[in-house]
Amino acid sequence: MPITITMPALSPTMTEGKLAKWLKQAGDKVAPGDVIAEIETDKATMEVEAVDEGVLDQILVQAGTEHVAVNSPIAVLRGEGEAPGAKAAPAAAPVPAPQLAAKPAPVASVPSPAPSHGGDRVFASPLARRLAAQAGIDLAGIKGSGPQGRIVKHDIEVAVAGGKVASKAAPAAATAMAPPAPQIVPTAGFPPFELVPASTMRKTIARRLTEAKQTVPHFYLAVDCEIDKLLALRKELNAGDEKLKISVNDMIVKASAIALMRVPAANAAWTEEGIRLYKSADISVAVATDGGLITPIIRGAEGKGLAKIAAETKDLAARARAGKLKLDEFQGGTFSISNLGMYGIRAFSAVINPPQGAILAVGAGEPRPVVKGGALAIATVVTLTLSSDHRVVDGAVGAEFLKALKALIEEPMTMLL
């Protein structure tokens, strides 16, 4: 009996993904555990493993196809000895659409349907739809200037040109029959550009960051920490073991985790049900990749030694850059750390990674003049900036956390206590 292989849900929230690559071809033998395909979700590339044994009979969704709905059939597996081309039994999971519905057929003469958002129909002229499809623009993000807000050609041209051109629609004049000021609308004046289609990951970043900045009430606290002692300790530790390469960031991860344990109110998340106070410090470490930012997690960092944190971070960062992180390695986390010190950035404010309650932005450690005992001295100083979600972390809580963190960083040996 042929078995239908459907698009797997690689996370609870995943509704669709891109079928990036087939690793088995039609006719190949497949054993349970064999990787048959790679799926690209909004966060990473995932491998699809075969569950059953058999021969890959038909590939229903070609490699490179985007927006493949979860649970839609992507291939058919037949038992060895079964005739090829047999119809697959209906998949056990309810398949929401007929077999090829998820496969967008690129027929030039048929305009692609408007992406639905919230069930609202997008009103757009056929020409606008086609121009948007050709430019890789999502109509849902376009404001229509036509009758009743219909999206017309002009709107797409404006969007392609950078979205900054004044709409030709008339601004509403105040009173009837009153002369509005004469106005000649300027036209676009942009230099030539290359339009880079946004990847799934980039779209997710855009959506989540916009959501974070628009819905989370951010506030910011900054503190300077002297790190000469921390640097000395790091040097000592790294000198003791050739394989060990503890970074300043690893030490800040550890210090932050301990500080979160000391000020548990800062290790919190706002939810509609209530405020979560986490029992462990799962630290998300921001890693820049070619496709954008991703935040793998050091779980229970408060209980991990610096060597382990360093090794884990190194491994996660490498796999993040290769797009090979597993879902549970970057989903979750209670607190984030973002470090731009290596670029010489003195201080910056980071955007909270919801539903987390705070993120720590780490600047560059640099020699700065400090006043000690009434005299000027030189110390290596790093500026830490905490962005907090004011719904869960009040100013005093944030300040207490930074105070605890500063104490740990400036007297790093206390981390051992």
Binding site: S109, P126, A128, P147, A170, T175, M177, P179, Q183
Partner: protein, 467 residues
């Protein structure tokens, strides 16, 4: 004693009276100043009466070909006076209709010569005597245009006609020279040719109906010549010498060759000039006039607060429907209506009621190519259409031009029977920004001439069914 208005419109032609009606709908006290007759040239001396005359010519043409349809008509006699009388009656009826519309919308009509008398003021006089002073919050200038006169070739109203004399002939000329082959010239040429007059057309450009698609121009010329019309393109009338009852025209043909043509009458149809004089433009600061037309922005604003200009006064295309639409835009702009859009010139259709008729919208094939686009062109001939054959109208073609990359309908060009009634289908399609896909999926009724519109689209993509 000055009278106050929310809006005063100077000129009661199609642009002006429509602007007044739209303004009245939006509420307010509205005035129209008209020096001659409501409805303007269009209704009284242009679009409408010529259509009445051309209908007479069409009926005559059909009667002359009655045998083809299985009956005979004996003793056909042209009664020129009756034709003209019918044409005048049609205009009179519509002129009365506009008067009624003004009354219905409580629009004050001032019958006199109006001129700006400073910002927001219009002085109206009749026969040189002051009639009324209007003070208006907003003024729309809609004074239209008139026939262009060439130096040395000025019309005299007797032997050398403008459109006006050509419309009310008392005796039928035996021969006629039409100078200019735009819509006006060609319609008169076609009318008189159908009445049996020996017609010669002289056009300075290299083809007749020069604004139309080149292929359409060529087909039109072929058709006119088949009817016995003489057509000289790339030709110029150098001089007109008048005798007692005829005119000798010196015509320089392409290549420097000069011929003399003697005709009974000459019709000058070499374009129009805007009526910018004697309307008091000098009494307000900031109105710009270029090439006899008032300059405005896309909202018909002149740059002087509260002063707008529309229609032929503003510039080409010199079409009544463009003027009417501009009138509505200007008024809605004044009223601050939201979501207003300026007019898209690419969506203004043009119709010429010669035989065969010509209608078009958007870019010609040459202009579309010149814009740097890759194009797909579809063509379908009348001879491939069942209804056209049944009507006995197998002459003509429908041509469509698409952007090859986006499928945007860039232009449509038609020649043949009833195409002036067909073009609106493409105008709607263009206004709705349809691509070839929607047009292909539209079900056109059978049997109609409109099926050719479908086939032309299909042909652009190599899918025509009936040819």
């Amino acid at each position: 004693m000055a009278e106050n208005f929310d809006l005063a419109v100077l000129g009661g032609g199609p642009g002006g009276y429509v602007a007044a009606i739209r303004a009245a709908q939006l509420g307010g006290k509205i005035a129209v100043v008209e020096r001659e007759h409501l409805g303007g040239i269009c209704l009284n001396w242009g679009c409408i009466p010529t259509k009445a005359l051309l209908r007479s010519a069409e009926v005559l043409h059909l009667a002359q070909h009655a045998k083809e349809f299985g009956f005979s008509v004996e003793g056909i006699k042209v009664d020129l006076a009756k034709m003209v009388e019918r044409s005048r009656k049609v205009s009179a009826q519509l002129n009365a209709g506009v008067k009624h519309l003004m009354k219905k919308h409580k629009i004050a009509v001032f019958e006199g010569q109006g001129r700006l008398d400073g910002p927001g003021k219009i002085a109206v006089s009749k026969d040189g005597k002051p009639l009324a002073d209007l003070i208006a919050k907003n003024v729309i200038l809609a004074t239209g245009a008139r026939a262009r006169a060439l130096p040395g070739l000025e019309p005299d109203g007797k032997l050398i006609w403008t459109y006006k004399e050509a419309m009310v002939p008392t005796v039928m000329p035996k021969s006629l020279l039409v100078v200019g082959s735009g819509a006006i010239g060609i319609e008169f040429a076609s009318f008189y040719r159908d009445l049996g007059v020996a017609v010669t057309v002289v056009e300075v450009m290299d083809r007749v109906l020069p604004v139309e698609d080149e292929e359409i121009s060529a087909l039109a010329r072929k058709s006119f010549e088949k009817q016995g019309m003489k057509v000289h393109t790339s030709a110029t009338v150098k001089a007109l010498r008048k005798s007692s009852d005829n005119v000798a025209a010196t015509v320089e043909l392409g290549g420097g060759k000069t011929v003399e043509i003697v005709v009974d009458r000459v019709i000058m149809a070499v374009g129009i000039v805007g009526n910018v004089e004697n309307i008091g433009l000098e009494t307000v600061k900031g109105v710009k006039v270029e090439k006899t037309h008032v300059v405005t922005n896309e909202w018909l604003e002149t740059g002087v607060p509260g002063l707008y200009a529309i229609g032929d006064l503003v510039g080409p295309p010199w079409l009544a429907h463009k003027a009417m639409h501009e009138g509505v835009i200007a008024v809605e702009r004044i009223a601050g209506i939201k979501g207003l859009h300026p007019m898209n010139a690419a969506n203004i259709p043009g119709c010429t009621y010669c035989r065969p008729q010509v209608a078009s919208v958007g870019l010609t094939e040459a202009k579309a190519k010149a814009s740097g686009r890759q194009v797909k062109v579809g063509k379908f001939p009348f001879v491939g259409n069942g209804k056209a054959i049944a009507l006995g109208e197998t002459e003509g073609m429908i041509k469509t031009v698409f952007d090859a990359k986006t499928g945007e309908l860039l232009g449509a060009h038609m020649i043949g029977a009833e195409v002036t009634e067909l073009i609106q289908g493409y105008v709607v399609a263009k206004s709705l920004e349809t691509t070839e896909a929607e047009l292909m999926h539209t079900v056109f009724p059978h049997p109609t001439l409109s099926e050719m519109m479908h086939e032309s689209v299909l042909d652009a993509y190599g899918k025509a069914l009936h040819f």
